[in-house]
Symmetry: C2
Subunit: 202 residues, 2 copies
Amino acid sequence: MKTQPQISACFYIMNGVEVLDFAGPMEVFALAGFKVFTVALTKERVLSQGILQVMPDYAITDVPSADVLAVFGGNPASFRNDTLIEWIKKYQQDTDYVFSVCSGAFALGHAGLLDGQTATTFHSRIEEMRTAFPKVTVLSGVRFVDNGRIITTAGISAGIDGALHLVSRLKGEAAARAVAEEMEYDRWIPNNGLLTTKQTLL
Amino acid sequence: MKTQPQISACFYIMNGVEVLDFAGPMEVFALAGFKVFTVALTKERVLSQGILQVMPDYAITDVPSADVLAVFGGNPASFRNDTLIEWIKKYQQDTDYVFSVCSGAFALGHAGLLDGQTATTFHSRIEEMRTAFPKVTVLSGVRFVDNGRIITTAGISAGIDGALHLVSRLKGEAAARAVAEEMEYDRWIPNNGLLTTKQTLL
């Protein structure tokens, strides 16, 4: 982690982004005291799930650095964009963590960040991801996978669990529990559904 | 329910609205095939949780009718606004359901909709709500309360459960289960945490 006292998280959003994919982790990180901001390809309005009109804080051309880069699902076809993938490759070099929810894992796959790693994604896209990224071990039936620097979660609401896990790593389990209680995510059990690379290798 | 085939839900949002309060039910209703739109006092940008910049679809002066009116927490002080409360009183007359998450229950309380009813709210505002609305039976330790037409939920993530409950009522439990599975809200148990008015009276 960098020396700055407040942890920062950059949320990449795009048209078609699934609303709970980003809103769950946004809620968790906000309650944990992180500074969260949004970025899109341009500063034009992003339409989430065909419903929610979001104005991104930054375009990829002017976004400040962050400790965490987070990407989300809902429109993985949009990740087949060289400008975006080059930006992800470059931007993540200055982050401590890379975090994906749902089919957001495809963005990390296209950027080559998951090669040789273990990952997960939205339940209905497991096979598609295995085919698209043969160098990645793609797991089904897990809620999130922690490779150390790169954390990928399963679909939609699993992003909440992955975000709580990252808070637990960065600020301790007591802090993560306090966030879960504040948001009345009563049924959260630390490490439930987690698979670390170490566990995978055992 | 009205004769229109698609159920519609009007989400009232305001500056300071808690992001997961509205995004959880938005995800649930969207996956259930509802038409969801947002409304604010004016069409000016709404800043959710100090982070997310949202452009509302409508102002209260031009919003179309809906089957469900939903209100959310995060800034209950903003509900002390006569224009808003008069709009809620009038708008809800043409809805089949009124739904609140977290401290959104205070908006319904100010509008008098909870008088003689049983309700819940964010865990840290239970006592404040009892004091503010002595004609309302305010319950702690429940995830949501269903009065038939008016459903109030506890804090933040409890909105997901309340929304799944409403989907279950409107489209059947199988449809609600399918939504929970799609969003990987694995630990959802139908009716878990529910208190109906009938149960209260027993």
